[in-house]
Symmetry: C2
């Protein structure tokens, strides 16, 4: 869970929701077929928002392949996460 | 999406995470086999927290059957939601 996969975007307070939406669109344009949004703690809500904004913009161009929720240890604390896997549909 | 199903718990700011955990345990004890946690907007994070606390306490006694994310219209505004369906395992 800790090492970031190339097609994984860690959603945090660092950027606005719209910035993450653009990051995903850029990754799809770069040829990634699947992108995984990972939201931890308070950013879980933002990860779902990013998904919904992408769905608004790309419609049937993307498919929600899998949504995982759980908890992981971070700085010796257990914290909730969500992982949203999106697939490009041509 | 608006009408609440009997086995659905709408997670909101109204109660603490631990209270929702107890609500679910009570429902399982009342004989419900499945309980659905519904978190909207800022309460999406809390819904995932409730799930993780339940998992800590009940372990293999519950199974995460399905996690849905999306958006719905509420007071003429579109708002993100998460729906977490839990199944009792005997
Ligand atoms: Zn896939």
């Amino acid at each position: 869970m800790t090492t970031k996969k190339p097609n994984e975007i860690l959603i945090s307070r660092a950027k606005r929701t719209e910035d993450y939406v653009l990051d995903v669109i850029v990754m799809f344009n770069q040829g990634y077929d699947e992108v995984e949004l990972k939201g931890v703690g308070n950013s879980i809500y933002k990860a779902v928002e990013v998904y919904n904004l992408l769905k608004d913009r790309l419609g049937d161009g993307i498919k929600l392949e899998k949504t995982d929720i759980g908890s992981e240890v971070k700085d010796r604390r257990r914290i909730s996460y969500i992982s949203i896997r999106l697939k490009r549909v041509y």
